[in-house]
């Protein structure tokens, strides 16, 4: 079986500055991956290239064996690729439930019966329950707390029934208890069959979550492997500790 996601020789430049240089990453289905690297190392750029927000100048991206390099983000979403945002981007004029309606209507509309309003809302509530946000279903996105916003991001992402979920710093700025809560949710999601790539700065969370860690520095993969192995890598230590 081919890999779930295959990033091959991807290079992305901004006005002469190389944000990603010849990046190669392969991800197998079911995996839990931590993507780490110092600020500006290209983590978010890589996510944006994979999700289609940016188009790399060089390289190909394959998903489930298909070349998706030239597809718009919404086409990739339909293929089963979901992501969250570092700074939560809720649909702020909608309720929490209605936020989920967007991917439900646009991505999985052929899997569920949209005319059956009750069923759709049931589906939304099931999603909210999975991210432990069902008590806030009627609230407006504007009124949510930070941790609730992160949960909403996750719920909206999984509403599209993805095979691969990329979380861009889903825990930044949260308290320890909240970090653990999000981590539990992510582990649950993984257990239900979703492959997850987690971009994170909080090292304990990365170590607890990941089966594999990829470390980026200055736009290049400097280490890729089992967590302990990666953390022991001299380049990683240098990139992180500056020594």
């Amino acid at each position: 079986m081919s890999a779930l996601l295959e990033v091959k020789n991807v290079t992305k430049r901004f006005f002469g500055f190389t944000a990603l240089g010849d990046v190669n990453v392969t991800i197998q289905a079911g995996d839990r991956i931590g993507l780490i690297g110092p600020n500006g190392s290209g983590k978010t750029t890589l996510i944006n290239c994979v999700s289609g927000v940016f188009k790399p100048e060089v390289g190909t991206i394959r998903f489930l064996g298909d070349d998706i390099s030239s597809l718009a983000p919404h086409r990739r979403a339909k293929k089963g690729l979901a992501r969250t945002f570092q700074i939560p981007r809720p649909f702020s004029s909608m309720s929490v439930e209605d936020n989920l309606m967007v991917p439900l209507e646009y991505v999985v509309h052929d899997l569920i019966d949209l005319t059956n309003e009750t069923a759709v809302y049931d589906e939304a509530r099931e999603l909210l329950r999975r991210v432990r946000l069902d008590d806030r279903k009627g609230a407006f996105a504007n009124d949510l707390s930070q941790v609730e916003l992160r949960k909403l991001e996750l719920a909206r992402a999984i509403a599209a029934r993805p095979q691969l979920l990329i979380c861009d710093e889903a825990m930044a700025g949260l308290a320890t208890k909240e970090v653990n809560e999000i981590l539990d949710i992510l582990l649950d999601l993984n257990a239900s069959g979703i492959t997850i790539v987690m971009v994170e700065h909080i090292m304990q969370a990365v170590m607890r979550f990941s089966k594999r860690i990829i470390c980026l520095s200055a736009g290049r993969v400097i280490s890729d492997g089992a967590p302990a192995e990666v953390m022991a890598h001299p380049d990683v230590r240098r990139a992180y500790l500056g020594s």
Binding site: F15, G16, S92, N142
Partner: protein, 290 residues
């Protein structure tokens, strides 16, 4: 009737008018380019300042002196408007979006109505020793008012550029443009910084307004002529670059002038705005932005 000499003079006049375009766009370059405020009312502020210059001019003050006098009140006016905008939109965290644009649209609307109620609809002009006379260089004559505009435009550009790069406050403004959060770490208050910057932008508009009435007569609805042009210059320049604004103004001025001389004035607006569309479509970050 077409000669090299005429072409040369068309370029010279284009450069002079371009300086004028740049001078009236500098304020917007700060407000929109650096602060990301959808300042549709900038052109209306220019016209307001032109009328204030006219008002002081009717007491016998030279328009340039009047410009210096109105800079301070305009600064505070700008601070006030930004504060209002901040309290109403930015503070609530949500992207102001359509409502932010509509807010400044409403402000422009009110300025226009105020001016027509207060000053009537007749066009107004000022008089000064440099208006209506020209500098003779051989066969060529250059209106003094445009030379005045040239000097003010360059002084204003250089002044703002130095201010933004050399002073602490100026650097804070540029920092807030990039990352309000980073600024907070350094210990400056981003809201106060933006408020201050918007004041500076409005003060620059005050000087631009004085130039407006020096260059041509004004009427309350004149802002409609300049909304497009000022945004065109700022976008061409690449947001927030002062020297870029000057160059972009010059480009717009020269293109208009050349089209006018070679193809007829009727087509000048289409060409200028066509250029803007092209830049927006191909290089939305502007010509002079890294």
């Amino acid at each position: 009737m077409f000669s090299f000499e005429l072409l040369f003079e068309a370029v010279v006049f284009g450069l002079l008018v371009g300086c004028f375009y740049a001078a009236i766009s500098l304020g917007l370059s700060i407000a929109f380019g650096l602060l990301d405020v959808p300042h549709i009312a900038h052109a209306a502020f220019l016209v307001l300042a032109a009328y204030m210059t006219f008002l002081l001019g009717s007491y016998g003050l030279d328009p340039l002196v009047a410009a210096v006098l109105i800079v301070i009140p305009f600064f505070f006016f700008g601070v006030l408007v930004y504060r209002f905008y901040y309290e109403a939109f930015e503070k609530r965290g949500a992207d102001a979006g359509v409502r932010g644009i509509a807010f400044f649209f409403g402000i422009a609307f009110l300025v226009q109505v105020f001016l027509s109620m207060k000053f009537g609809l007749d066009q107004r002009t000022v008089s000064a020793p440099y208006i209506g006379r020209s500098l003779e260089l051989g066969d060529m004559r250059i209106p003094w008012r445009l030379i005045v505009v040239l000097c003010v435009a360059i002084a204003l550009t250089v002044g703002l550029k130095l201010y933004l790069s050399k002073t602490f406050q100026g650097r804070a403004i540029r920092a807030v443009a990039q990352d309000a959060w980073a600024l907070r770490i350094v210990g400056a208050n981003p809201v106060l910084t933006k408020q201050w910057a918007f004041g500076i932008a409005t003060a620059a508009a005050a000087i631009g307004g004085a130039l407006l009435i020096i260059v041509s007569p004004v009427e309350p609805s004149l802002d409609r002529v300049y909304i497009g042009r000022t945004f065109c210059v700022v976008v061409l320049a690449g947001l927030g670059s002062m020297s870029g604004t000057l160059v972009a103004g010059l480009i717009l001025g020269v293109i208009e002038s050349l089209v006018l001389t070679m193809f007829g004035a009727s087509w000048a607006p289409a060409v200028a705005y066509g250029l803007l569309l092209l830049v927006l479509a191909i290089r939305p970050q502007g010509l002079f932005r890294q």
